[in-house]
């Protein structure tokens, strides 16, 4: 185990050094916690031309948009403007150093390009920041789905002790009331003084405008035959077929962002966890408190968060299960998985190619795929073709860096397991030495 931890630690450091700041240009200044300075982020956001809330964002099916609009938070320019201001405002954290944009950095694909996020006092959590793109079609929120809606999700990091660290939601509201610009903005948006529910609503309204669905894939599916290369088209056939991606990442009219919005144990980092031991720990901990804040704390600050969905549901079949992330713009949101343990999309495909990492709670749909190296390259090429055209710059940089790394570093590759010459489960039945028989 010591060996594992050592390797993992080294890997995490390496992944950070590779990815840290990659999508930004080297001369960019760095703000608190390594994030891109807010003014740079705001300029970048302006250049991305997201909607102001007066109309639905382009590229979204109107019916899908309607389905995902909450009744009590219809999209509206005043709400979007308020949400945007809140999103970038570090004053909402205890020491005024962390805003939403610290970890959901516009310049870094609305993530933070590091395995796990850093909050106040330099504390590092245990989960990878998911990109705040295309969230209109993603629910429930968080890796373990512990918030049913984006509105509820948006206010949790404010009070998580290792994220923004405010003592309570009341303290957040008091602070908002003290800042002169906010009360008029709240009244314009929701017709009342600042309160925590409307804070969540405004943040959700803003994030719902962050729609990035204009990818080569969409143009290709719209009829432009040359929008995707031959390799990318082969990759899509694999995505829908042999590689089985579409089972959980469906990409179609009713699933525009490529997630089934469900939870699966795919064995990520399963070889480094003792699930049964963690189960005993978490059930005891939850006996003493299972409020939203307690679960939030367990998920981010303890190893019990590795149980994923189980911490929320306490259902045995949810052990180690995490929500299916969207595949849209995945090229610019490395590193990957709930713990940011995979640095490239080649690593991700390697992981699924070998049938995940064996554990008793592995999702039944996860199987060895026997993809060849050429097929892996095609599949990754297709994943890059899911990147919105506005993110073409970061995409080509990411492709270059990921491709280069994948030619030499493939920590998750296991050709014997992928081709079923060796079964992962066998090692749990036999001794290691005869596992191959």
């Amino acid at each position: 185990m010591t060996f594992f931890r050592g390797t993992f630690g080294a890997l995490a450091v390496f992944a950070t050094s590779v990815w840290f700041g990659l999508p930004s240009t080297p001369q960019d200044a760095v703000g608190p916690h390594g994030a891109t300075p807010i003014d740079v982020q705001e300029r970048r956001l302006d250049a991305l031309r997201i909607g102001d809330g007066s109309a639905m964002p382009p590229g979204v099916d109107p019916e899908m948009w309607k389905i995902h609009q909450p009744e009590d938070n219809a999209i509206d320019p005043a709400r979007v403007a308020l949400g945007r201001k809140l999103f970038f405002d570090a004053r909402l954290s205890r020491d005024a150093s962390v805003s939403c944009a610290t970890c959901h950095d516009v310049v870094r694909g609305f993530g933070d390009a590091r395995p796990a996020s850093e909050g106040i006092d330099g504390q590092v959590g245990r989960r990878n920041a998911p990109p705040t793109m295309n969230l209109f079609a993603v629910a429930p929120a968080f890796w373990d789905g512990r918030s049913a809606t984006l509105e509820v999700q948006a206010i949790q990091p404010l009070v998580n002790p290792i994220e923004m660290g405010m003592p309570s939601h009341d303290a957040v509201v008091a602070k908002l009331k003290d800042i002169p610009e906010y009360p008029p903005l709240f009244r314009a948006a929701y017709g009342r003084d600042p309160n925590i529910a409307d804070t969540g609503r405004a943040l959700a309204a803003f994030q719902r405008m962050l729609v990035f669905l204009g990818a080569p894939f969409d143009r290709w599916r719209g009829g432009a035959a040359d929008a995707m290369s031959e390799s990318e088209r082969r990759g899509f056939a694999l995505y829908e077929g042999k590689a089985r991606c579409a089972t959980c990442h469906p990409l179609n009219a009713s699933h525009p962002v490529g997630t089934d919005n469900l939870f699966h144990n795919t064995g990520v980092s399963a070889d480094k966890r003792d699930f049964e031991k963690l189960v005993r720990k978490v059930l005891l901990a939850l006996d003493y408190g299972n409020s939203t804040a307690d679960v939030d704390h367990l998920a981010l600050a303890t190893d019990m968060g590795e149980l994923g969905r189980f911490v929320v549901t306490k259902r045995r079949h949810d052990i180690g299960a995490f929500r299916t992330p969207q595949v849209r713009n995945v090229a610019v949101t490395a590193p990957y998985m709930h713990d940011g343990s995979m640095a490239t999309l080649w690593d991700v495909v390697d992981h699924y190619n070998k049938g995940g990492i064996d554990n008793p709670f592995l999702d039944g749909g996860i199987e060895a795929l026997a993809l060849s190296e050429a097929e892996i390259d095609d599949l990754v090429a297709f994943l890059f073709a899911l990147t919105d055209d506005r993110l073409a710059g970061p995409k080509s940089k990411a492709r270059e860096a990921q491709y280069e790394r994948s030619r030499t570093v493939r920590p998750f590759r296991d050709v014997d397991a992928a081709s079923r010459r060796r079964s992962g489960f066998a090692s749990r039945v036999f001794d290691e030495k005869d596992a191959g028989k």
Partner: protein, 356 residues
């Protein structure tokens, strides 16, 4: 399961919640002994009813030991992890038959190796697939006699071989290699299951001297009643077998083979079909007994859905509550009270999706 509960097995009086969380996050795993497993019995034995106990059931693993298709093997490993996580541990674990898909020796041996990891004692029941190639010779070499009995905490347990074929002969031991043919369950060339004359005699012998007040649990792979001949959910000599069981006040038959929960009551005999680990089967087109509760159609995109393990809780008065612990759903319990009341008491949850 929501809201704070009283701490179990550990006294932390005076420690506030946040402090406790800090303690737990610091990794004091030693604090975590005691009944906190996800399968903790909701009704732990109460003083004065010391005879109440649970046994677990794993069934229909259908191992093939083919590296190109290791689903069945992974599923059985999951079942073993589940029963080992039961807290408190079951008194024993019944394997309900069909360990191997086609009865090959290597598959049976591999299954035996997996089942070695079960912490509680294991009781084996023979299934039709286990006997497919050699009439059960390899199975008996690994696991011993296929008909036996024992008494546990005042309950008489009898294991029968409920998957002999009509016309197979007086003793299957002489039929080595005789049972060959298609594995498709719906093939009419298969002879029906029976317990057979010898099996019935052994059942009667195992129950001789047992008082009629003694709770009796019969473990069989085949159902011991008649639902649907086509899929061999059928025991040809069911009536004669039931006549042997009829004198007893409380009889519970726990069977496998159907790969789905079934519930039936004939006279004072309760019959329970248990979940499979390998794959679910659809509802048979006829003969589904009326006490069977409706279930949601298993999700074809999730091979674990519709599968799982089960356990039976025997109360001090011999009442058997049967729980189906689905791998992808909330557990469902069919209480003995429900069975006795003809389905009036303790209604099960309604299905949300349409059935077959």
């Amino acid at each position: 399961m929501t809201g704070p509960r009283a701490p179990r097995g550990i006294d932390v009086g005076g420690v506030d919640r946040r402090a406790f969380l800090r303690v737990v996050s610091a990794g004091v795993a030693g604090l975590c002994a005691g009944g906190t497993g996800p399968f903790a019995a909701p009704d732990a034995p109460t003083p004065g009813r010391a005879d109440a106990f649970r046994f677990a059931v794993i069934a229909d693993a259908h191992l093939s030991v083919d590296p190109r298709n290791d689903r069945a093997e992974k599923a059985l490993l999951r079942a073993v992890a589940d029963v080992n996580a039961m807290d408190p541990q079951p008194d024993f674990v019944v394997f309900g038959g069909d360990l191997a898909r086609d009865g090959r020796k290597d598959a049976l041996a591999f299954g035996a190796r997996i089942l070695k990891a079960v912490k509680a004692p294991v009781r084996m029941v023979v299934g039709d697939h286990d006997r497919h190639l050699d009439g059960g010779v390899a199975w008996r070499a690994l696991f011993g006699d296929d008909a036996y009995a024992w008494t546990h905490k005042g309950v008489r347990f009898v294991v029968v071989n409920g998957v002999r074929r009509v016309g197979e002969g007086a003793s299957s031991a002489t039929r080595d290699g005789a049972i060959q043919g298609p594995l498709h369950a719906d093939d009419r060339r298969w002879a029906a299951f029976e317990v057979g004359e010898e099996g019935r005699a052994r059942l009667a012998a195992h129950l001789s001297g047992v008082t009629k007040e003694t709770p009796v649990v019969v473990l069989s792979h085949g159902p011991l009643y008649k639902l649907h001949r086509g899929w061999n959910l059928w025991t040809e000599d069911a009536e004669t077998v039931q006549a042997i069981l009829a004198p007893f006040d409380r009889v519970t038959v726990v069977h496998a083979h159907a790969h789905q929960p079934l519930a039936h009551r004939i006279g004072r005999i309760d019959f329970h079909g248990m979940l499979a680990t390998a794959f679910p089967l659809p509802r048979p087109p006829e003969g589904v007994p009326p006490l069977t509760f409706p279930i949601d159609r298993p999700n074809p995109f999730n091979p674990a859905d519709g599968c799982g393990i089960g356990w039976v809780r025997i109360a001090a008065d011999g009442t058997a509550d049967v729980t189906h612990a689905w791998w992808n759903r909330e557990p469902t319990t069919v209480t003995g009270r429900r069975m006795r009341s003809g389905g009036v008491e303790d209604p099960p949850p309604r299905a949300r999706r349409s059935s077959y």
